[in-house]
């Protein structure tokens, strides 16, 4: 076979002998061919300034030469407004500074979908670079009764046509050899209307070779710039007006001319197999060409779809698959995440032992190791979700899922493909937001990313459980479950409302046509899936991981510094020993041990003190730190919501991760390890009062805090991932402001109304 490797600096082309661009429709198997050509390792990045993925790789040619291969985004056309298509055209024409102009273009054509694929080929021919056609998916075409003759196609087009079956790696060697035979195709005689040709000729002296592009409305930057020029614009409008009078729309005429050419090519290069049945429904002169229509044989895909998109069965199967996804994210990923956390802590602990006590040790153990843990802990969920997604996407089922859900989600301004990201966000928004990659339309994707955090994630659960269990304990189990459910519903309603508002305001604009292809079902390739999981996990760690890690260390420092002075700590200890809190001495008053001696009492007291004093000091340290002072400073702002400074401290810390709220409350209240046993914490919270005797915690306060947690943006990891997925800080900042403002108002209302009702 061939030998391939990866390139470290794809933009510098001195190391490559030939630059090859890979173009093709979405779903034509281009990625599989790219992987076959370049091997396991490729470089994935972004085109600067846009969130379009940029993939490059290297491939060895004969004679020891190397080809640098650019995998262009899958496109239906090259002249529309969509960013993918603009980028592809710019790369092909050599207009991008970050990417060298390709010397050869390989067009991957799906043989089972020849006509629409040839439309892109017709545009590639117009671009004028040496071309090779990779005729892919011939096996699928054959099953559908379509026989494409590669030789006839080659003769008709005038460029090498190489039959390839990408997912079986057949024809790859021939494709590589064909790169050297690439030829500029002879320009086809597209049958444009005479009047249009005349107008192009009239424009030519002014606009040169862009004359036709100006008329049809090509969205390329240079054409648009030309169109806006004062001397050109009126001439173009006059031409368009003249054509309109004759009933000609240049854009439409151009596309129709291309398709007429395509019809003639497919006539020459294909014939239908035995499975086709001619069906005459008497379409007359409107049907250009054949008066007969052919019905393709029933394929496996169509039979499968009859069930999978069935009104009843389809939805049931869909629910089952989504249920499995959800279950695995919640219950399978969870224990794995626990192991990962323990593993990281254990590894960190190996070093901790060797460090002297003091800030460096604490920085290492609680700052750095905890920070790394905070990043790595997400990998199991991300890997699992992308495993699921890759299987669903490669098999072809993902498009069906979008097909089923689109109506439901479009009602609130989202997209059929938003379903899985939103569902995953109930486990954790980080993989959910990463999963929005499958949504092509930028506005729909942004709207989905924006509302994903409203799906109450698993990190909120410890907070929900603590607050509901402590302050709504009077209700039955069903009552408490109902409150929990209403929190989830609140999140969903907030998401729906937000998406609806956003679509109408900030993200207002033309919605690109929803066109969904339902590709043929196929068995996913393990190597492809493995590659997807690996690439996405790695990308998360590298891009978002750095932000999460830095924020984690900063938050640690905020709770650590400034340190309590030594004298203060000694004084505190002395004070506690002089007058131990009543509950530390209480145990044997209520339940005296069998042999009640003074020595035994002293021993028990000492034991309790040894446990209690570090907690009390930790609590004082927290109050003394920046976090604590922030909590105090925040108090006036959060007082209308019913919160005090202790909750403020918890909220600040919860920005690291929502579940940290619980442990921070435990520290503030010196209540031990709340994850093990929260009764101490619950008791402390219930007993806490303001100086004037009012209880700090009431059901209204708890309700207000619950509403806050449902709606507020309180997760640095989410902020980091939104930054990574949208490519700018604009959206994460907007998200923080919007969600926290919404949370503030809602919590305010909840508390003010709730405290008056109860």
């Amino acid at each position: 076979m061939h030998d391939c490797t990866f390139t470290i600096e794809p933009t510098r082309t001195t190391s490559a002998d030939v630059i090859v661009a890979l173009a093709g429709n979405p779903n034509c198997g281009k990625t599989t061919i790219f992987n076959a050509l370049t091997g396991l390792r490729q470089k994935v990045g972004n085109y600067p300034g846009v969130t379009v993925e940029r993939k490059t790789g290297r491939c060895r040619l004969s004679g020891g030469r190397w080809a640098s291969i650019i995998d262009l985004p899958g496109t239906y056309s090259l002249i529309s407004r969509a960013p993918d298509e603009r980028i592809a055209m710019e790369v092909l024409r050599g207009l991008r500074e970050d990417t060298p102009a390709p010397q050869v273009v390989i067009a991957v054509v799906d043989a089972s979908n020849l006509q629409r694929n040839l439309y892109l080929v017709s545009q590639l021919i117009e671009v004028g670079r040496p071309l090779v056609i990779a005729l892919n998916m011939l096996d699928i075409a054959q099953r559908r009764g379509i026989h494409v003759n590669a030789g006839a196609l080659e003769k008709a087009l005038g460029v090498p046509v190489v039959p390839v079956v990408g997912h079986r790696k057949q024809g790859i060697a021939e494709l590589i050899a064909a790169i050297d035979r690439a030829a500029v195709a002879p320009m086809p005689a597209f049958p444009l209307p005479e009047a249009m040709r005349a107008e192009i000729e009239k424009l030519a002296p002014h606009a040169g070779r862009h004359a036709e592009r100006l008329l049809i409305g090509d969205h390329a930057e240079d054409v648009q710039r030309l169109a806006r020029r004062d001397d050109i614009a009126p001439i173009v409008s006059a031409s368009m007006a003249r054509l309109r009078e004759q009933g000609i729309d240049p854009m439409q005429a151009d596309i129709e001319a291309h398709y007429q050419w395509i019809d003639s090519i497919t006539e020459q290069a294909t014939h239908r197999g035995a499975g086709y049945q001619p069906v005459s429904d008497g379409l007359t002169a409107h049907a250009t060409g054949s008066p007969l229509v052919y019905a393709p044989p029933k394929t496996l895909t169509e039979r499968a779809d009859a069930i999978l998109i069935h009104k009843v069965w389809g939805l049931l199967i869909f629910a089952a698959i989504m249920g499995a996804l959800f279950y695995s994210l919640f219950f399978i990923a969870d224990p794995i995440m626990g192991w990962v956390e323990e593993g990281v802590a254990w590894l960190g602990g190996l070093v901790t032992e060797h460090l002297p006590e003091g800030p460096i040790r604490d920085l290492w153990a609680d700052g750095i190791v905890a920070g790394v843990g905070a990043v790595v802990v997400f990998v199991p969920q991300i890997a699992l979700l992308f495993l699921f997604l890759a299987v669903l996407e490669d098999s072809g089922y993902l498009a069906r899922a979008a097909f089923l859900m689109d109506r439901l989600l479009r009602g609130v301004g989202l997209h059929g493909k938003s379903f899985i990201p939103l569902l995953s966000s109930f486990a954790c928004a980080i993989p959910g937001i990463m999963a929005t990659r499958t949504i092509e339309d930028r506005r729909d994707r942004l709207a989905t990313i924006f509302v994903a955090p409203f799906m109450s994630c698993s990190a909120r659960l410890p907070v929900y459980i603590l607050l509901i269990g402590t302050f709504f304990a009077g209700l039955s189990a069903w009552g408490q479950a109902a409150i929990m459910l209403s929190l989830y519903v609140l999140g969903i309603l907030a998401a729906a409302g937000t998406a609806w508002i956003f679509k109408r305001s900030l993200l207002k604009g033309q919605s690109s046509a929803f066109i969904l292809e339902l590709p043929v079902y196929k068995i996913p390739q393990i190597s492809q899936i493995g590659r997807t999981v690996w690439t996405n996990s790695k990308a998360f760690i590298v891009r978002a991981g750095t932000i999460i890690f830095c924020l984690s260390v900063i938050l640690w420092a905020m709770a650590y510094y400034p340190r309590l002075p030594e004298e203060r700590i000694a004084q505190m200890e002395a004070d506690i020993r002089a007058a131990p809190p009543i509950e530390l001495t209480a145990p044997w008053i209520t339940a005296p041990p069998p042999t009640d001696t003074a020595a035994m009492r002293a021993e028990i007291l000492e034991e309790n003190l040894r446990a209690y004093i570090p907690e009390a000091i930790a609590s004082a340290q927290l109050e003394h730190s920046i976090s604590g002072r922030l909590g105090h400073a925040m108090e006036p702002v959060i007082r209308p919501l019913g919160y005090d400074w202790k909750m403020g401290v918890g909220l600040v810390a919860a920005f690291a991760a929502r579940e940290v709220f619980v442990s921070q409350m435990a520290i503030v209240y010196s209540a031990g390890d709340a994850e093990e046993d929260a009764t101490d914490l619950q008791a402390s919270m219930r007993a806490d009062t303001y100086p004037d005797g009012r209880p700090v915690w009431t059901p209204a306060v708890a309700a207000s805090l619950l509403v806050w947690f449902v709606l507020a943006m309180q997760c640095m990891s989410t902020v980091a991932i939104v930054r990574r997925e949208t490519g700018t800080w604009r959206w994460p900042i907007l998200m923080i402001l919007y969600m926290n403002a919404l949370a503030y108002v809602a919590a305010l209302l909840t508390y003010q109304i709730g405290s008056r009702l109860v």
Binding site: Q115, M251, Y259, G282, H286, A287, R410, A513, F514, L518
Partner: protein
């Protein structure tokens, strides 16, 4: 002869003349005779092959009614109702 249209609001066959793509019932066929809508949508629909009198067949509708799956030029694609209604088709007499 087209199959009976079970979609409510479908222009029932036999009929002659133009109707909109979203009005066709399951299994019905029509020949594209025009595409309306704003420039971007029109371009996209034309480029996908809704031109030159191509035959479009309605394959199915999603359980909730939308989107609709069509077959044209040998492949299948789904469009939302709001976009499909911009495509004018001619259905021939029985």
């Amino acid at each position: 002869m087209s199959k009976a249209c079970e979609v409510p609001g479908c222009v029932k066959p036999p009929m002659v003349g133009d109707c909109r793509l979203n009005q066709l019932g399951i299994g019905c066929r029509g020949a594209v005779c025009g595409v309306e809508g704003d420039a971007d949508l029109r371009r996209r629909l034309l480029e996908m092959g809704f031109c030159n009198g191509a035959t479009v067949e309605v394959v199915r509708r999603a359980p909730l009614g939308d989107p609709i799956e069509f077959r044209l030029r040998g492949y299948c694609l789904s469009l939302r109702q709001e976009h499909a209604r911009f495509v004018k088709v001619t259905v021939a007499s029985a």
